[in-house]
Symmetry: C2
Subunit: 365 residues, 2 copies
Amino acid sequence: MPPEALTFAVTARDGKARAGKIETAHGSCETPAFMPCATKGAVKGIEPRELRVAGIEILLSNAYHLALRPGAEAVARRGGLHKFMSWDGPILTDSGGYQVCSLAARRTITDEGVTFQSHLDGATLKFTPERVVEIQEQIGSDILMPLDEPVPYPPDPRTARAALDRTHAWWRRSRATRGALFGILQGSVDRDLRREAAETVAATDPPGFALGGFSLGETPAQMYETVDYTVSLLPDPKPRYLMGVGMPEDITAAVRSGVDLFDCVLPTRLGRNGWAFTEDGLLKVRNSRYAQDDLPLDPACEGPCCRNYSRAYLRHCFNVEEMLGPRLLSMHNLYYYGRLMKRIRAAIRDGSLGAFQPWKNRRSP
Amino acid sequence: MPPEALTFAVTARDGKARAGKIETAHGSCETPAFMPCATKGAVKGIEPRELRVAGIEILLSNAYHLALRPGAEAVARRGGLHKFMSWDGPILTDSGGYQVCSLAARRTITDEGVTFQSHLDGATLKFTPERVVEIQEQIGSDILMPLDEPVPYPPDPRTARAALDRTHAWWRRSRATRGALFGILQGSVDRDLRREAAETVAATDPPGFALGGFSLGETPAQMYETVDYTVSLLPDPKPRYLMGVGMPEDITAAVRSGVDLFDCVLPTRLGRNGWAFTEDGLLKVRNSRYAQDDLPLDPACEGPCCRNYSRAYLRHCFNVEEMLGPRLLSMHNLYYYGRLMKRIRAAIRDGSLGAFQPWKNRRSP
């Protein structure tokens, strides 16, 4: 991998936490960074220019979904995913490894790779370690993920062992690329497996590390502990990405352990369903208590939704099923996450991350 | 009605067509103007600030729907509809008269008024001519509509006669307001009834005239002819609003007859369903021919959708059911309508409206 494909510089530290900057061929992002999910090439209901307003600098997309529709070659012919979706910043793509779990009923795993039955027309789709890297190259991804095999919690020990061996075998087959291909560490909540994963992958000196296999049923405490342990085994100067996590307190805890990148569907999924992130916790906007509430969703927020709309109006939009409601709450939540990461980076620079509280309430929905 | 509630000035003429300006307590709009439908207090999926980008200066909302949810008093307590929905321009509200037709199975008409059975919970809602004006005052509407009784085409002559008599009886009962209450002319496609309507309503000197009872099944030719005849009977210096119309060629024809205001759900409804207005006609974006088409929806359009997204990308969004697709096409179509009205106003000022063609194709879906 040519070193120019991705650079990472740490600019401030607070304990194990670091603030820094990732540079790619499509511009840079400050870390710790949150990546909204443009799984199929669009963040649900939100335009790229609106993501910029929310302080978002890097997106996640998904090789499996784009390979299905419109097809990796089709994206390539349109000039790549950046041009196709009109986003000029960095894009990280997941490999389809997560779909090994989420589409468990529709796939077969062999040492060769994963065979999916398309959820659209039943067609057979073969994902090999080689092919998923090729797909991401065709798409024009800035940060690529190898094919991996996460296991749901609680794992059967033999299953976790076999999945880790396969993940490492696939990793060895998947490295022939000019792109910034991160190594993925699996191993569920087993410290020995996580150590083996960290050592095996670190030995190959990838440009960054992804921590996979979380948010799959384990408790927050198990996740925090395993993340902290795993990150402690990684070489310092490479970016670390905690896949599919998560709630503000999860992100805060992982940043304290030294994680730099996050993605999660929660801000848009919860927004579409009427939940707003605020400094006081999650607000259920459909609640009738807000019918006469002229405050913005979060009085501490200066985003476009909170500057223009009251809780009463947003509740009304959900109440009468106006699509503006899901859209405005998705935007608000992305703005919340953009601001959360800014606050976290500022706390690292100030040396105050230890006392940092993302919000007053604990996890809700 | 105090004369300061609404002023209308004609600034240019081309045949019977006029360009002008309506001033209200919430700012002005240039005419001929198109009003997007914010039926329930939101243009579907689109923010007010985006309407401004599309060149939209005036909105339509609906007293019936807002009276149901959140209730007229609730809107009043929130500071009125403008503040509630964050739109600072003029708002015209329909009375619920249209729902006399569209919700025919759920209402009973008597001389007293219309009783609706709520489509939500079966509750009985009584709309009298007095009450619908009061609702619109509570909402804070800039241009109010009286309760009326449109009849679907083809009308039974006795039904049309009775509906017109009732519309006029309701009109006489509904005028005690300080707001700009337009008179509504009914009479289906019957010239005698339309003449009677024009004379009856004009005799009361309202601040403007609404032409109701169109787009209810009659042919375009019947509509054009009846509109042209009816407008010819109206006093010149008052604004004229053709309710619920329509396609670009319908608007162009009605402007040529001297109509100043239009509303229609088509730009957003067709947009949500994957149809884009272009200078070449309606484009069905789901069509597989666009899968590899890098052109914008309308190469002649400089709106935000056409500047940023290709037909191939928009087709992909519809194909994978991303909500960004309906939203972007709705925005594009509203931009098309905003630009259409600008082009029409320019043609009137140039004296070239006779040769004006809104688009190359004829009506489609």
